[in-house]
Symmetry: none
Subunit: 222 residues, 4 copies
Amino acid sequence: MPAPTRRSTPRTGRPRDAGADRAILAATRAALVELGWSKLSLGDVAARAGVAKTTLYRRWSGKNELVVDAVAELLDELDLPDRGSLRADVEGVVLRFARLLERPEARASLMAVVAESTHDPALRDRIRSAIVDRQKRLVLLGRERAQRRGELPPDTPGLEGAAAAGRTVDLIFDVIAGAVVHRTLVSSEPVDPGWVRDFTALLLGGLTAGAVSPPRPVPPGT
Amino acid sequence: MPAPTRRSTPRTGRPRDAGADRAILAATRAALVELGWSKLSLGDVAARAGVAKTTLYRRWSGKNELVVDAVAELLDELDLPDRGSLRADVEGVVLRFARLLERPEARASLMAVVAESTHDPALRDRIRSAIVDRQKRLVLLGRERAQRRGELPPDTPGLEGAAAAGRTVDLIFDVIAGAVVHRTLVSSEPVDPGWVRDFTALLLGGLTAGAVSPPRPVPPGT
Amino acid sequence: MPAPTRRSTPRTGRPRDAGADRAILAATRAALVELGWSKLSLGDVAARAGVAKTTLYRRWSGKNELVVDAVAELLDELDLPDRGSLRADVEGVVLRFARLLERPEARASLMAVVAESTHDPALRDRIRSAIVDRQKRLVLLGRERAQRRGELPPDTPGLEGAAAAGRTVDLIFDVIAGAVVHRTLVSSEPVDPGWVRDFTALLLGGLTAGAVSPPRPVPPGT
Amino acid sequence: MPAPTRRSTPRTGRPRDAGADRAILAATRAALVELGWSKLSLGDVAARAGVAKTTLYRRWSGKNELVVDAVAELLDELDLPDRGSLRADVEGVVLRFARLLERPEARASLMAVVAESTHDPALRDRIRSAIVDRQKRLVLLGRERAQRRGELPPDTPGLEGAAAAGRTVDLIFDVIAGAVVHRTLVSSEPVDPGWVRDFTALLLGGLTAGAVSPPRPVPPGT
DNA sequence: CTGTAATCGAGACGGTACGTCGGGTCTTCAA
DNA sequence: TTGAAGACCCGACGTACCGTCTCGATTACAG
């Protein structure tokens, strides 16, 4: 994640300060908490990080790129501890994501970079690689674990089966992330345990009722 | 929606140019398409509208308010024609929403306004009233229609039942809107008919499997 | 001198702050005294003048143009009081000019703008019109006065005579200004009364010995 | 002149590249011609010379010192060939000096260095020793030669006479150099043969009319 | 022939100032 | 009173040089 600008031949010259990247990203998050996206200035970030503005610009091309990286690091702390059942795993990750979205730096910046990405293809790609693809691992992990537990049927072999599985993963990712983000940031309603229970019930009900995967019913866990 | 700033005594003096509001909102949308949120400058909007900056600031207090107004009416064109079954109605509205989100002015501005709202309570309230509450009518309408068709059970009477029904509406609204927005703007994947089918199956499966409402199984329509 | 940038139709809009020009030029001279030419920053000048940087740039195109005007105003305080004889008049103006060149803002900036003008024709022209042509009035005045006193012969009539007179004025101007500047800034020697006496003697001796004007000897005054 | 920074013990280690000094000074002059003083950047000079910035800073302490060295040798090519009379000698050296000042590198850098010296005593001393004292030899030489020819009276013996002679040399130096520089760089007028004749007449007239030296009239040469 | 030591290129570093741009306000004149 | 025009203050932008520094890689002379 750090040092996104890679040189082809980093042979000669003074090497870049290794710690600067992390200091800058941390300063970016701190500034986001205090100021929000629109008041965030790169000069201020540089000052907080104890770094010259030039150093910042040497590594990131602008506000957007910087914030994407700063936020991506934030999302990396999401994980999926094994809570014994698919239902508990889903409820767990939904709650953790909601907690993350309560933090001001995440609220302020996630939507802002998405907004900018609508007319900046490079930024769009960066979001996909640094955030979307990165967090889909959680869905994959939960799915795999549920299959091992017998809560979900194993993958259908063959190319067609793999494609269907991929589609399901994408669908579930957008449904979970989208619903939580929308409730939190658009509807401005709290993601409380009751909502988490309802949402998870809806999701798992839809899954086991046979959404994309064949409709083979599976005994729910716990 | 236009001209939110109202005077107490619009008696005397030169009357406001009636067409200016519409010219400004149109110019705002045009500028949003070309430049995106962050590059949008009010000076530029004023110039496009053939209007002085003074005139613009007399009617809107800033960028956010202007863009909210310029965009809110876009969403008003969403409706829910009766396609004969709950499934068809859901697929229809999902597709229409996705088509709307393909328009650049909608992409660029929706998320931008949401982003700004994370540290602007007034803007957050404006979004709730002008967008969220306004569009929930679609969910309510579809639910009612499905109940009349017998695809969904009637509301449980009593306070508790009404509360449960309200929770379900909110949940479904966030799931539908959130998933479509997330897939379109965050994952940057197309909302094609296949995805719509899969998503609708997941949602209806979850609903009929008994999510929030009592688990009474209902024969799906069509 | 002030408000060098002239608009063709200054009809509409808010008029420029009349006092700003003078505040800026005064601030420029003050900053020159403290910092010298090379450390002089326009942001600092603007701050001293209680003016925004944009205001400054709206009126002057850069450091050079600004300093030329600031210095030209300085040189305007040179005058030529009637001391009774050509010799006394010359000694007087030489001394006053030398005193002026002792002031740090004059020392630091005069040569700097001349240096810049060597590769900036616009600046060169500005120096000619704002400084050179402006100060030649002193030579003209002294000449006229001496002619009235009978210390110098009257102008030869005719085109040829006028041209010769102009050449003489230019020559004298460059000799006086050049010698004083060179002694002060290049040789770094003081312009004391002794030097003034010697220099004036040399100059008047050359003039009356018949330099450009016809060699008619004239009884010196005093 | 080159390599002004001298090490106390130049014993061991890799020796400095001998050609670098000359390459740097040549690059400096070239850059001066193209860019002028203020746009001249040491990084650019280093690049032109095919040398690292480090190397440049190891040998000169900054822009001023570098340019003084780069330019000082330009003035060394001035000399005073014997043209048979004092008048011809003076006219000759004035013309040669004017020709020198037509070269862009001389124009741009001479005044710039003088400007910087107004608030840099070390630089001021450097100019005195490297330029002023160095070029006064021309005046001394011309004076001596004219005395041998009988065009000027021999030095008055004694301390007082030596002091008076010194003052005269300084005066003449400043008058000649100052007038030529001022006409060329400030008034931006050409030093053509006509001006040279007029100026020389004025100077010699003043000298022989008895400026500082006793007023003994001397038959002018040629 | 092996240190030791100063040099070289390259380029990152903390700074300072640049000149420009946009935001939102204010001031003038004309309608 | 509104509108067009445009000047105003403010603050951030992204760039350019400054002069310093840290590298790895050369080159000499010394032991």
